[in-house]
Symmetry: C2
């Protein structure tokens, strides 16, 4: 891990963000707001980023995609629980994170994140590790959509070891779970963290396969569902289910919580929030309705591929 390699990762991430937002723009027609930012000198975390967001489009109601690259004098304890020897070392972290909330309730919401953290302990070699993944949150369940999404996830990590996909899939199911509802956030995908077991070159290659997989995994579902007719019933259900997304991200998601509590850039962290959300008391759907089947059946973890 050297400076040149870190620059290569940064270049890749910026390019990934550009590719993904261009693809969404091509489908939606709406321009992304492109908001480059830099942390003021003197704050604990230094760094810069590019926040991109498309709001109020015909296909995407709110689609945020952020690149950020920060460095700090001391790795937070939460980042080094598996690496006590690096505790408190200077670090760099860079990544791309996105959440796309479509307008049509038949199009699922997607989340992806790829990131690299580099610890730079004094007088020692820098140590890099990777994390990320992607997961899908449908409002109405379509088996073929879930299968396709999981297949792309599997293909992305398959070259790096046969054991990775089952590990990362289970990790995803376990992580994106609303304990206070006893409910999965969606149908999962892959999630991994602290990944350094294959070294920098392979770890970075896998990051690229995951990052590049997002459009392959998601855009076919958008194209397939975006013009499905829907009415007030489906819209109301979508707004209600988006409440679950908010609950997960604000109550359980470690990244969101840590970011908000430690002085991260609030508007960039909350790119993940939907444009419009509703809550209502004790909603109960008829047991055989598509709405009831979503949580009763479709969101139960299973082997999709």
């Amino acid at each position: 891990m050297d400076l040149h390699q870190a620059q290569t990762v940064r270049d890749y991430l910026i390019q990934l963000q550009a590719n993904i937002t261009r693809a969404l723009h091509d489908v939606d027609g709406t321009d992304f707001v492109v908001d480059p930012w830099r942390k003021p000198e003197g704050e604990m975390l230094q760094g810069d980023g590019i926040t991109q967001i498309l709001e109020g489009g015909p296909v995407f109601e709110r689609a945020g995609c952020g690149f950020s690259h920060v460095s700090g004098p001391k790795l937070p304890p939460s980042a080094t629980q598996h690496r006590p020897e690096l505790s408190g070392a200077p670090f760099e972290a860079m990544g791309v994170s996105l959440v796309f909330h479509p307008r049509n309730p038949y199009v699922p919401t997607v989340h992806m994140n790829v990131r690299m953290i580099v610890a730079k302990p004094e007088g020692k070699e820098p140590v890099a590790w990777f994390g990320g993944g992607m997961d899908l949150t449908p409002y109405y369940g379509f088996e073929e959509d879930a299968v396709h999404f999981h297949q792309v996830c599997k293909d992305a990590v398959a070259p790096y070891g046969a054991d990775l996909h089952p590990r990362f899939k289970k990790w995803c199911d376990d992580y994106f779970f609303l304990k206070h509802r006893n409910e999965a956030r969606g149908v999962g995908g892959i999630f991994y963290d602290d990944f350094s077991e294959l070294g920098f070159e392979k770890g970075f290659a896998m990051m690229q396969d995951v990052g590049n997989g997002l459009l392959k995994a998601y855009m076919p579902l958008v194209m397939r569902r975006k013009d499905t007719p829907y009415g007030e019933r489906e819209r109301a259900f979508q707004l209600y289910r988006r409440g679950r997304y908010v609950e997960f991200n604000l109550v359980w998601d470690r990244g969101t919580h840590f970011g908000l509590q430690s002085g991260g850039r609030t508007e960039s962290i909350l790119l993940s929030m939907p444009a419009l959300v509703s809550w209502s008391y004790n909603r109960v759907d008829a047991p055989d309705s598509d709405e009831a089947q979503l949580t009763a059946h479709f969101l139960k973890p299973r082997d999709w591929v």
Copy 2:
């Protein structure tokens, strides 16, 4: 503190909930859903409650008011940080908690909570303490509304000591603060916790003065503002500001967070969520607009009375 006293507090709380919901019903015309619940035998916490909620009314879009009374074998550490000698003792907790989200953006949102916790250490006298308060969250600032609300808060606690109001007002300003926005949630009110310094009789009397103060503090504002004409601009701002309410409650509020993470009754805890909420990126209002003035000026803590 004996069993008879605990029953008296319970009776008061149930009556308070009934009085408050009746008053809202009289203004709105919509019936509250009344949902009595009881925790299944065998769970860690035992107890019962009555959740009442009015949704979709002409005056209140979502108004939730819950009574709950739970007991458990071990006081959680968060409840005994000032009383290490009671750590792990069996306990009872009872209270009324409410959040009213009006439809008209010129009517503020209000929150109130009154609660009593009783620790029952083995072989010793039970120890009771009180907590609660109320606070106001306007979308558009009216000085006379804030002054009235704070005056009622002050009057409620004045009989119990001249020092209480300034203490409880500051506690409220400090607590209902969004650190990730550097913004107050609203114009405050009063907030207190761990209150046992005056003993049971006076503590309970103050609980009643605070509880009974809610309608005096809030209903005049509802009557004054509920028919104010408004348009899409005010509605959009209200939905946007409600996002702050969600952020505070799900990210910072200890009661909400602890409840959701420890197996509380989710739908009752989330009575506080608004019916409809929006997020948008980096909203900026013209500096002299009422919308910009809310955070730039009106929500700054000050002595209102």
